[in-house]
């Protein structure tokens, strides 16, 4: 699920061995993960674990999350916490609904982006210019945006054919592309159920079949973000505002300007995420975002405030989400997968000397394995919780390696060195 090679420009941090992982290592990790997946698939018979349908569904679910995570990344790298992502996404869904049903999906995307920018600017004015606490401003936006979207939808959609007070008329979906030939070939191999080969084919087929242009755009934006923030002087200055704004100021960086740009970009990405969601579901509906902005924020933290990491996080959320919605026997197989993953974590932790953590991971991992072998299925009440359990576990075990921008969430006033 992870988009390989996206982790451009990993920062080196002094607390760790300053070694940069090469693309080769990432490839090996990906192959290893797929091997484990194949083994679990073969053992449990849950073909949905690696089927092309699951991969497609996971990608579709991951895109709005990845956009929200990217939005969070831009703001937090410049030192501004943006908990208002959810609200900005709501604005994006409305914008996509309004322009989308009249002028087509791409007009919807542009208008959603524009409304997201409005939300971002609001947050920037409050937090940067007036120094309002970031959380308070974010919560205010989360309260304001759904109300505004509802008000506007009553105004514009109630009379539109096929619309209602809380929903827009239909939006056409964006075009989808398939890699001709390759997709069919992979489909044939996937059907053979060969160990590993068919699983790889399933994943590749999912990644090359009926891919929405919106998904491709999202991938481009993630790569572009990595390049802009870590490979350009502009990006260096922007990140310096999040690490040490007074130092940046002393070097002549206009911190206010960079924060404004970053938070506005953040709003734009969140709006895009909302627009993608509305366009791919075919309409705007009140309450449609359903907490995706917050999950995006979690994906960003999971990804250690880096583009490659947040793409992995969003992919993981999308994957478990797709699994939970597609079939319960695959979720049951996830138990075994989690168990194995935790045991691997335990071994790695033990080798790096974290004995307590290693023990905890091992115990939980064994428990998951025991649960798998002593049950036939996961109770439906718990299936929906799968993405959150996975996240909690991963965050809990990986948190010691996370490093947020140093000055994130702190108030900054020009000329008042801290």
């Amino acid at each position: 699920m992870t988009v390989g090679g996206l982790s451009v420009g990993l920062e080196t941090t002094p607390t760790r061995r300053g070694k940069r992982l090469s693309p080769m290592v990432y490839l090996l990790v990906a192959v290893g993960a797929l091997l484990v997946l194949s083994a679990v698939r073969a053992l449990s018979g849950a073909t949905d674990l690696t089927s092309s349908g699951t991969v497609q569904a996971a990608l579709t679910a991951a895109v709005p999350l990845a956009m929200a995570a990217l939005a969070g990344l831009w703001a937090e790298r410049a030192g501004v916490v943006n908990i208002g992502l959810e609200g900005m996404m709501v604005l994006g869904t409305f914008g996509a609904g309004y322009a989308g049903y009249q002028w087509g999906p791409w007009a919807g995307v542009v208008f959603g982006l524009f409304l997201g920018i409005v939300g971002g600017l609001l947050h920037a004015v409050a937090t940067v210019t007036f120094g309002v606490d970031h959380i308070i401003s974010g919560v205010a936006i989360n309260l304001l945006a759904p109300g505004a979207a509802l008000f506007l939808s009553k105004l514009y959609f109630a009379d539109a054919p096929g619309g209602g007070q809380k929903q827009s008329p239909r939006i056409e979906d964006a075009a989808k592309v398939t890699l001709p030939g390759f997709s069919d070939l992979m489909g044939t191999i996937e059907g053979k159920r060969w160990f590993f080969v068919s699983d790889l084919a399933g994943v590749l087929r999912g990644l090359t079949t009926e891919i929405s242009l919106l998904t491709l755009l999202a991938v481009v934006l993630i790569v572009a973000t990595g390049w802009v923030l870590w490979r350009t002087p502009f990006g260096l200055r922007l990140r310096s505002c999040g690490e040490s704004p007074s130092a940046a100021e002393s070097l002549g960086v206009n911190v206010y300007k960079y924060k404004y740009l970053a938070v506005t970009a953040s709003g734009a990405f969140a709006g895009l995420g909302g627009a993608f969601l509305a366009v791919s579901s075919g309409q705007f509906r009140d309450g449609q975002t359903g907490g995706r902005g917050f999950i995006g924020l979690a994906a960003m933290i999971f990804g250690n405030w880096r583009p490659g990491g947040l793409a992995t996080g969003a992919g993981l959320f999308g994957y478990t989400d797709a699994m939970a919605l597609r079939g319960s026997n695959a979720v049951h197989a996830l138990l075994l997968l989690l168990g194995i993953a935790l045991v691997v974590v335990a071994v790695l932790q033990y080798r790096s000397g974290h004995n307590v953590l290693s023990g905890v991971a091992a115990v939980i991992g064994v428990l998951f394995g025991w649960w798998y072998f002593t049950s036939d299925q996961v109770p439906p009440e718990l299936i929906g919780a799968a993405p959150y359990v996975v996240t909690l576990l991963v965050l809990g075990l990986a948190s010691q390696r996370l490093r947020p921008p140093k000055f994130v969430g702190e108030p900054y006033r020009k000329g008042h060195a801290v």
Partner: protein, 341 residues
């Protein structure tokens, strides 16, 4: 909550008192008029669905009897206390007849009815609150679901069909149980895949087409060729993916084939389970107007005409006679459709 239904015709005629406006005249003439308050479930007027159906019944009563009407809307994610406030507001505003749309008002009606014994309440879809001034208007959804289950079994080429419920609550389980019974009655060896999009208290499953799309795609990938969507607004995603994969879907609550919002996917909707909420609302108002208010549960079933199946589009014309045979057996009592697992 908004159990996915949609009603044609309703999207355009709004304006008649949406969002808490009082229509039907000022205070001078109000004394002589029947004052009816109606509290919507999430979705509200214009949801092309469940709430719109209630609104149609109200509109019909209003135009025929010239009653004084106040409508209030619910918001997503609100608490029981907020729902209670809404009912109190109506009762204190002098509305002597109050209709609560949706089972979510259960607790609120229970409490409010106690404090306003002179006000007559009706709650749709819940047999829960019981008092001398509460009428419970419920539907035998399992019977209609049974009939569309028969249609699905007879129309399926793979012998594999799906059921997608919005939220795993007892009300939606009635749909599932009836559907499964219908499928098995018509084709004993058929497979029924079942999926609920969310678990309570997360009610977003009624309002998330993206989730409906993913779940339906999973069922189609696993061999199903017809999926019954009892999932409110999420059903739109089910029909969309059915169309993209050359499969079929079954609608719910209203004749979804004829809904303008679903016009571009209507050719995959072979039938719909129809629930006449408007009839229940209209009947209730009529009974109050005539001084014949009756407390307790009133079940709108196949026999009473409160439940039916749709034939728009002509996709099931060839098996209509078979479905009608089952329908006759249910109305005569020969077949008893279960409503719980």
């Amino acid at each position: 909550m908004a159990l996915g239904l949609t009603l044609a015709a309703c999207g355009s005629k709004n304006d008649s008192g949406s969002g808490g406006t009082t229509t039907g005249g000022g205070t001078s003439q109000a004394a002589a008029k029947l004052k009816i308050g109606l509290a919507y479930d999430i979705g509200g007027r214009g949801d092309q669905s469940f709430n719109d159906s209630a609104a149609r019944g109200l509109d019909k009563a209003k135009s025929e009897f010239g009653i004084d009407v106040k409508e209030l809307e619910a918001a997503a994610g609100e608490t029981d206390a907020q729902k209670e406030d809404r009912l109190r507001q109506l009762a204190e505003g002098g509305y002597t007849t109050i209709i609560a749309v949706g089972f979510a008002y259960e607790t609120a009606v229970e409490k409010t009815a106690k404090d306003f014994p002179e006000v007559k309440f009706a709650i749709i879809d819940s047999a829960g609150p019981s008092a001398d001034n509460v009428a419970n208007l419920t539907f035998a959804e399992q019977e209609g679901s049974f009939l569309v289950g028969v249609a699905a079994a007879l129309k399926s080429k793979t012998g594999n069909v799906g059921f997608i419920g919005g939220v795993n609550v007892p009300l939606i389980q009635k749909f599932e149980v009836g559907f499964t019974a219908g499928v098995k009655a018509a084709k004993a060896d058929a497979t029924v895949q079942v999926k609920y999009l969310t678990q309570p208290p997360d009610f977003t499953g009624f309002n998330d087409p993206a989730k409906g799309e993913t779940a339906a795609k999973g069922m189609f990938d696993a061999g199903a060729d017809i999926v019954y969507a009892a999932a409110g607004g999420s059903g739109n995603g089910v029909f969309k993916t059915a169309k993209a994969n050359g499969k079929f879907g079954i609608g719910v609550d209203s004749d979804q084939y004829n809904l303008p919002a679903l016009a571009d996917v209507k050719d995959v909707i072979i039938t719909s389970m129809i629930k006449e909420v408007d009839v229940a609302v209209y009947d209730f108002i009529t009974s109050v107007k005539d001084g014949k208010f009756a407390k307790g549960e009133k079940v709108y079933d196949l026999k009473a005409g409160g439940i039916d199946y749709a034939t728009s589009g002509g996709k099931i014309d060839d098996i209509k006679s078979k479905i009608d045979e089952y329908k006759a057996k249910i109305t005569s009592g020969e077949i008893k459709v279960p409503s719980t697992k």
